[in-house]
Symmetry: C2
């Protein structure tokens, strides 16, 4: 948990798009191939390929080739790690470095 912000922002960026949120939501139901993901969206095939690349390169989604098809599924390990990180940075911590020596304003 050292320079975690730089590491985890890759995950957050991967989720920072409405289409990709929908894709993750679909994949939570189980593994899907690209053609069926595409059926549930209103984008072109190449745009889907672009989004799947971002999701799988981030590490949030696993991509497996199955003959001519690609099968996608969630990488639950990394998703849980991201959720834990977000919970961590939004919950109060003790001995917080950033609140030392505040004298003038803010108190």
């Amino acid at each position: 948990m050292q320079n975690a912000h730089a590491d985890y922002v890759v995950f957050v960026k991967a989720l920072a798009d409405e289409t990709r949120l929908k894709i993750v939501d679909m994949l939570s139901c189980g593994e899907m191939c690209a053609c069926h993901i595409l059926e549930n969206l209103s984008i072109s095939q190449s745009t889907l390929s672009y989004h799947m690349k971002i999701l799988s390169e981030s590490g949030l989604v696993k991509a497996v080739r199955d003959g001519a098809w690609m099968r996608y599924s969630l990488n639950q390990e990394n998703l849980e790690s991201l959720l834990a990180f977000l919970k961590h940075i939004t919950q109060s911590k003790e001995n917080c470095a950033c609140h030392k020596s505040f004298k003038d304003c803010c108190k």
Copy 2:
């Protein structure tokens, strides 16, 4: 939880930047004014103002004027809502619409 993707992507986008992740992390320790947030970052004052605007307009951060200073704090209600949403879309659901009628590939 209807067209939630479009609503929640605003929160996710607000977190999709390393600087803003650091700011949220700082604020988790408690309320801070802009000048002390700035001390912990390596950006200009106007850039901080830009990031604080994105965070507070998203609803993840509360901004309160205190004389000449701005005091910022986390909006825990919305943060918890976001965390719950992310947990929801990454966990398996029953009766999932997107897996109906898959016959050809993917099975």
